[in-house]
């Protein structure tokens, strides 16, 4: 197993910077997710690691071996593609056998390894079937088998689940994670789906416009997003982000609400000039009857029942549409309906303060 390190890697297509000065490392046996909206450069980054795309500047290391000058075949990596990329008109067995055949491994040793991999993936019974007849989930399992069969140093997953049905997605998600931990293969997963990234990866790297925004354990990204992009991108429903300002006594005041963070945090929060944006996750907003004290008063304008939770959109103030709108996620089913007046309790421990100009979280490290 080897580690992967990107050292100020950039990719330019003509005048377009697809990836800018990308620095990231992935420990041996780790599964790292590259997460971002489409066009953010995550797939390009993966393809540079694979050698399918060249590196415009910077260097990629597998262990301490620089690889950017090596052909894809010389890097000892395997890749799992979005649309499986199985060889048509070959059986499951032949597809999995292919990487071994190319390397001249045949006969008993090959058969044993292929058998093991098929067993691991539950593909034993369909070994002789043509791959084009299989379901999407089964095809992707064959592709994973093809990747595992030759014990690569690194496996790159390029949106492996996006073409699958919801139930197969959940099943394969767990399976990929299990196999990755079992084989301890260093892996990079590219995805635009935060659920996927959070469920499968040890660490998540969020990218936007070719720039790495933040790397960390899923919980870190969730609790301490480094900037507004990450705050907004991670979490569903997304974080409430509202214009605010500091008033006297460490109070944060916004359109129709005010809250006072812990005195201990104030030192850091009030550092810096200019406008601020306050962020709070919907599940950190408590909804109470209007006579209770709270950080804000408002009127429910919309209720989205989700079974185990209710997502309420609350217009702050008198509900004449003048104030901010805030989203609250509370355990459901709740008694609240659209039109109800409510008092909102903001969990001040979870209130985040961002610089409006730089979009940076004031409590972010560095």
């Amino acid at each position: 197993m080897s580690s992967i390190a990107f050292v100020s890697v950039s990719k330019r297509y003509g005048d377009v910077d697809a990836v800018k000065a990308f620095d990231l490392s992935c420990a041996p046996g780790e599964m790292l997710a590259l997460l971002g909206p489409s066009g953010c450069g995550k797939s390009t980054t993966l393809k540079m690691a694979a050698g399918i795309e060249s590196v415009s500047s910077g260097e990629i290391y597998f262990g301490d071996r620089p690889v950017s000058g090596l052909a894809p075949g010389a890097r000892n990596i395997a890749m799992v593609f979005e649309d499986y990329a199985l060889y048509p008109r070959m059986s499951v067995w032949e597809n999995v056998a292919f990487p071994l055949k190319v390397r001249g491994i045949t006969g008993q040793p090959a058969a044993q390894r292929i058998g093991e991999v098929l067993q691991l993936l539950g593909l034993r019974q369909m070994a002789e079937q043509d791959v084009s007849g299989l379901s999407g989930g089964a095809q992707q399992r064959v592709a994973i088998g093809r990747a595992l069969v030759r014990d690569p140093e690194v496996i790159l997953f390029d949106e492996p689940l996006s073409h699958l049905d919801a139930d197969q997605k959940v099943q394969l998600r767990a399976e990929i994670k299990r196999l990755q931990k079992l084989r301890q293969v260093t892996s990079i997963l590219v995805t635009h789906d935060q659920t996927e990234a959070i469920a499968m990866a040890d660490r998540v790297a969020v990218m936007n416009h070719g720039v790495l925004q933040q790397v960390g354990a899923p919980q870190d990204l969730y609790e301490r997003p480094a900037n507004l992009f990450v705050a907004n991108f991670i979490g569903e429903p997304p974080m409430n982000l509202m214009k605010a300002a500091f008033a006297g006594g460490g109070r944060v005041v916004g359109g129709g609400w005010s809250a006072t963070p812990d005195a201990a945090r104030l030192g850091v929060l009030t550092q810096g000039e200019g406008a601020i944006i306050a962020g709070i996750r919907p599940e950190h907003v408590a909804v109470n009857p209007p006579e209770m004290p709270g950080e804000a008063q408002g009127v429910i304008v919309y209720r989205e029942p989700r079974g185990d939770a209710d997502v309420l959109t609350v217009a702050l103030g008198t509900g004449d549409g003048g104030g901010e709108k805030l989203i609250a996620e509370i355990p459901g089913p709740s008694p609240w309906r659209a039109g109800d007046r409510v008092s909102l309790g903001l969990d001040v421990k979870s209130l985040l303060i961002f610089d409006a100009a730089t979009t940076r979280n004031r409590e972010a490290l560095q």
């Binding site: 393809k47 990596i77 890749m79 499986y84 990329a85 060889y87 048509p88």
Partner: protein, 278 residues
């Protein structure tokens, strides 16, 4: 599905069968007429009323052989085979390159390739004649091969590029990760998947070349005469030799039919473009 359609039930089915038979009869009648002319004695050829029954004769065949028309058949066959083979050899990598690689002014180049088909052939034949006369390609097999290649190559590249674009690029990337070089990937991954497309497009090129008259007539001269060019020879000072014309015409028809028949499976698969997708 196909079975149910070919055997519809009851009188409606009978009606459709009848319509189909009539339609086929109308379509096939000229070919039947040509076939009958091949063995019709000259005095029965245009007899009024039409003589449906006659003693068949082989005199038209012997005239055609005596006057060396089999050599024209051979010329046609060689010319079409060689030019189509060259088109496939040159055009396949070109189409692939246009589909896959980044190059400067790719779209302009691609449009330029089509330029040889933008004007009616009759406009191009004069410059071709003048150029060929200057460089000594007039009346040569090579010259005619080159002329056929120019217009078939553009067609071939245009059609095959779309086949290439339909191939999932990830297959090639996956093969690259296994350590194969570009030529190996082309030969062992791309080519097998393209085969139906290549066959279908090449057959069309062959048929274009086979039926071509104008360039063969103008550029082939006396030295290189193809089957279509040989037909006017049968309009003689003693009259038009209709029976011989039917023999030559039928001979020109058969290879095309045979090619299409034998390669039908590839052609249909190729033309529906769906052969690659799993």
């Amino acid at each position: 599905m196909a079975d149910a359609q070919s055997r519809p039930e009851g009188s409606r089915g009978l009606l459709w069968t009848g319509v189909t038979v009539v339609y086929a009869a109308i379509m096939l009648f000229p070919i039947f007429w040509m076939a009958s002319m091949m063995v019709k004695p000259n005095d029965a050829m245009f007899a009024r009323p039409t003589q449906w029954l006659f003693v068949p004769t082989l005199e038209h065949f012997s005239y055609v052989i005596e006057h060396g028309f089999h050599w024209y058949l051979l010329t046609s066959f060689l010319l079409c085979t060689v030019s189509t083979a060259l088109v496939v050899i040159i055009g396949t990598p070109a189409a692939y390159a246009f589909a896959r690689f980044e190059m400067r002014a790719k779209d302009d180049l691609f449009l330029f390739i089509l330029a040889s088909r933008m004007a009616p052939p009759v406009c191009l034949v004069i410059p071709f004649y003048l150029i060929f006369a200057k460089v000594g390609l007039l009346d040569t097999f090579l010259g005619l091969t080159l002329a056929y290649m120019t217009f078939n190559l553009s067609f071939y590249i245009w059609v095959l590029r779309s086949f290439c674009r339909d191939l999932p690029v990830q297959l090639e990337e996956a093969a690259a990760l296994e350590g194969w070089s570009k030529p190996q990937i082309f030969r062992r991954v791309v080519f097998p998947l393209l085969r139906n497309g290549i066959v279908a497009t090449a057959v069309l090129c062959f048929i274009f070349a086979w039926n071509e008259f104008l360039f063969a007539f103008m550029l082939g001269g006396r030295a290189v005469q193809t089957l279509p060019v040989s037909i006017p020879k049968l309009i003689t000072s003693q009259g038009v030799r209709w029976g011989e014309m039917a023999v030559v015409g039928m001979t020109a028809l058969l290879p095309v039919l045979a090619v299409v028949f034998v390669l039908q499976r590839h052609i249909v698969r190729g033309l529906t473009l769906g052969a690659v997708k799993g």
